[in-house]
Every structure is written in structure tokens, then in C-alpha cells.
Symmetry: C2
Subunit: 340 residues, 2 copies
Amino acid sequence: MAKKISRQTAVFDDLIYIKSYASIAGKEESEGPLGALFDEISEDPYFGQETWEQGESAFIRAAVKNVLRKASLEPHDIDTILAGDLLNQCVGSTFGIKEFNIPFIGIYGACCTMSEGLMLGSMLIDGGFGSNIIAATSSHFAAAERQFRFPMHYGGVRTPTAQWTCTASGAVILTEDKSDIGVKGFTTGKIVDFDVKDASNMGAAMAPAAADTIKTFLDDTGMKPSDFDAIVTGDLGTVGQKLLFELLEAENIDIKNQHKDCGMMIFDRNKQDVHAGGSGCGCAASVLCAYFLPKLQSGEMKNILFCATGALMSTTISQQGGTIPGISHAVWLTDVRSQR
Amino acid sequence: MAKKISRQTAVFDDLIYIKSYASIAGKEESEGPLGALFDEISEDPYFGQETWEQGESAFIRAAVKNVLRKASLEPHDIDTILAGDLLNQCVGSTFGIKEFNIPFIGIYGACCTMSEGLMLGSMLIDGGFGSNIIAATSSHFAAAERQFRFPMHYGGVRTPTAQWTCTASGAVILTEDKSDIGVKGFTTGKIVDFDVKDASNMGAAMAPAAADTIKTFLDDTGMKPSDFDAIVTGDLGTVGQKLLFELLEAENIDIKNQHKDCGMMIFDRNKQDVHAGGSGCGCAASVLCAYFLPKLQSGEMKNILFCATGALMSTTISQQGGTIPGISHAVWLTDVRSQR
């Protein structure tokens, strides 16, 4: 059973376990510092499909196939899949996973979808609503760019604060069966709106939500940043990281020694033309599955606070002069052996 | 605790209760047969805002305000709000609820969002993750029409199979505190794709999913259609209803005496030019809150199987020649006094 310790935060008395995890990424991501760590690479952004959107679906389909294979499970062994993505009406997920015939609960958290899926999936397993639950998400540079910003062939110049939506997907199987990695707790985020309106400055839109959620988690659990080997945000990039540090410093919280941002890790900003860093649901999801979960598995890290970060942006609202609110859910991941 | 009786279906040993429910609808809906039953009517589709999308947000905001008022609760009394809608990136919900500052879990189930919210919210309360949880959703005729089909001023002729997206919202507060209405169980749906490609024939796209979920629920629980006063679908309309009956008859299931479709109930198709009926997330949600939950409250109905139905459609995919898969989640709602 879980111990709900505040309105937003719960800690599990019995850990929820992670059975397997898988990542897949595109060409640009494969050329970054983490390139060797992904389970699969597709240099073809279409991934053998006819359109970028269908390609995104093929990426999440491959991630789910890989995560099933690594757990030696079949689709019918999975009770529920929790998935969503950035494409309008979350069609990356719908068309990516429909062939598996797994009971499906659609979620929307923009780029914090992996946090949301891990959090919800853990609650469902803790409540006895499933033995094996998949959390998955994806994003695709070209599909996102033409949906949210400009047609690809327009050749628009990207601003310095812009980020590069990752072509990537990650999937995790949560389970009640003991393993080396577990979910220990979480904090559900609130929508935080700092009145950012620049669709090329997602980092600034999301940093306030990350700060709010990290502070809430630490306050609620009484933990310190130094209790974690890493406090991980999804895709704040360089601009968002600076703002996150400032916002937390104003609350007397210093996470500089622990902070890692998946958007800053996935590309080499000196060599790759990605401006402020990577972004997209697939960024945090693939870096979690390719880098952080293996670090917990090996015992190199003991505790991670994984706070994927979402910009609740829509072109419809941006064109009407609206803001871009942010949200972040925090998931406490732990090396199970360190808990004994 | 819940008793999970199959991969898709669970029945609660301890009921999850409904503390309050609220509905709001627009002008066309107010002129239909259920017009007098909604808690609030806004004849202005902008609801005092500048755009239709902002108007939709104002509708869900009003539904949440009403449901809080009816429960004598404040936003800070709510542990989590589960919400989503049809607008790209679910911005109807994001901008509608952000001012409440309630921990938010974004969901996407197209027009089955209210089923999804009730199902997830019930699991969260059963698991001890909250005492009061709101499930809410909305839709807006003009915002949906210009997003999914044609610009409003184009004056396109609607086909006979087309449905009318309701301008409406519904919100429910799920709770652990005893009340007269409860959630007794649910069946999580799968994505069902019958290869329908006509964005003006949502009923045909969704009926196979509804049939699959209803059959699964009845098989898993061993219940009969006659155990229910009503088996309610969201927005199949006349076209979808016919297909639903055919699909279930092929499985030797006859629900003709129990079937009610919110899309067929909300408008008077003889007097109102809505073609096959109403649709949209707000259709099932507002009819549930205006008609069915009061029938359980009064004791006139004892058991309802509420199966909102979603068409997982996106213009991006339709323009690429893709299909429109459907999904439906079933929620068993009961008059608590009849359980004693």
C-alpha cells in the first residue's frame, strides 16, 4: 500500500518494480554523447513508413516491442498500456500501439508524459489493477516541427532559445515482481503558468513547473537534494536550467550538484546544431531508459528524482496570443538493493 | 480494495462514491429534450471569451466551479483533477482548469474521456491516492468543427452520417465518503480499428469499440444486459447504434431494451439539424451529469453501464489516408441503496 503524505506526494511502502526498459532514437540522437546507449537506432526518420507521423508511430511500436522482448513477455501479458505524445490527438501512440491489442489508457502530459505514465502505472499496480503495465511515449523532430512551428521545407531560422525535438521513444514495464529497480514515490504536478508566450522558448515555459514540483517533493518528503544521485529534468535545455536554478535558489534550494537535464545530455551542443538542447516526450523517455535506469541497475546510482517536464503548448492558443503553461511530475526511482 | 476479475475488468469490493456532478451546455443543447436538466446554460458560444477555444475552456471551468459548489468543496480540497478534451494538446482542459491550482493528470480518450476519468479516478481513490478526485471534460461545436473538418464560415454541407459536436462540459467528484451513487466496477477498453476513414462518420468508427467493451464487461462479470436499467454509449448516433446492435447480435447479445446513446438523447433530430446526433467529449459527460446520475440519485435507475465512446481521429492522419480507430471504457455506476 502507498502512504499518501501530502495532497501531491505519495511514498510506496511496497516498492513498485521495473521489469524492463527500452529506448530507440534517430540519427541525430545516435550522433550525440548517448548514441551508443540506445537499444535501437533508426537513421531513417520515416522508419520505413510513408510519413513522419507514421514514422513516430513506428518508433514507439519498436520501443514497446523491445521492452516486451527484454522482459520475455508477450503483449497479452500486459494489463494496460499508458501512452501519449505531442502529436494532435496523440496519434503517435494510437497508431503505434493499436496492433498490440493491449487495454489502453491514453494520457497527455506533453513532454512530461513519461513521468505521468510511471506515476499512474505505479498507482495502478499498487492498487492491484495490474501485474505488468507499460508506460511509453515518443516524439519526432520533423513531425513536431511542422505541427508546432514551421513547415520543414520553409527553412526558417531557429532562435538561440529554440530546442530540438528528439526523434526517440522510451518504454518501461512496471511490475509487482521484484527486480533491481523500483519506484519509491512521486509528486503529482500542478499547471504552472509564468506567462511565457514564445513557442521557441520551451525551457522558460517549463522551468517554473519543474521548480514547483521539485520543491514540493523535497518539502513533502523531508529529503535533501544530496539524498539523490541525480535530480533529472526532461528537456529544460540551457535556458530552462538557468531559470530552474534561479527559482529554486530563491527558495533556498540548491540542486546544482545533482541536476541533469535530458535535453542537455542527449546532444553535444558544441558539435550539434541544436541550440538550447533536445526536447520532446521522447527525449526524457529515451534518456531515462538508455542512461539513468541502467545506472540504477548497475548500482552506480542509488536514487534518482525523475521530473520530466511538459510545455502545454498548442499552435491554436499561441496564434491567439495565449500563454504556454508548464507541468512536471516527479518520480522517485531507486536501486532496490540500496533499500535493504 | 478492488477485485480484478480479468485483464480488463475490475469490481470494487468497497464502492467508490460520487459526491457531486455538474453539467453545462450551450444554446443548441439547451433547446434539445434535456435542456431543462443542465445546471447551467450559456447561450453565448464564446462564453464571454474572445475565441471558441477560450470559450470551451470557460465551459469546463464553469462545470468544475459548479461541481465544487454542489459538494461545498474548495479547489484545495481536491487531490487531483483528471481532464482532457478534443482540442489539439487538450488545451480546453489546460486553460480551463489551470486557475484552480489542483494537481493535474492529463488524459486523452477523445469522446470517451469521461469514462476514462471516472475509471482512473476510481482506481486512484481505491488505492488510497486521494479522497476527492475530479473527472471532467468538455467539447465545443465551433472549435471542433474548424479543427477537425471545415472552417465555420466555409458553409460546407454536412453529410447524413455527420454528428454535431456538443458545446458542453461535465464534471464529477469521486470520493471515499459514502453517498447515494457509486462506481462498482469498470472495463478498460482496447483500441479497435474497423478501417473507417470518414471523419463525418464517427458513429461507425466508435461502434466496434463499444461492442468489444460491452461484450468484455458482460463476459467478465457474468452479468446480463437486463441487469442494467441502461447501457449507455457516448455518441454513436443513429448510424453507430445500428452497427452496435448488429455487432452485438452476432455475439448473441441483445441490448436493444437497455441501450441509450447520449448523442441521440441530447438533440431532437426531428426538429434540430444535427443529422446522426450529438458527439464530443462534452456530450456523454453532460448527459451523464444532467440525466443519468440524477436517475440513480432518485432511485429511478439502479444500475447503469456507462460506456463513453471515443474516435481516435486526427486531421493529420485523415489527410494521410489513415483510419479512425475507436475506444470505449465501461464504468458500472450504481444506486448505493440498491446494493444493501
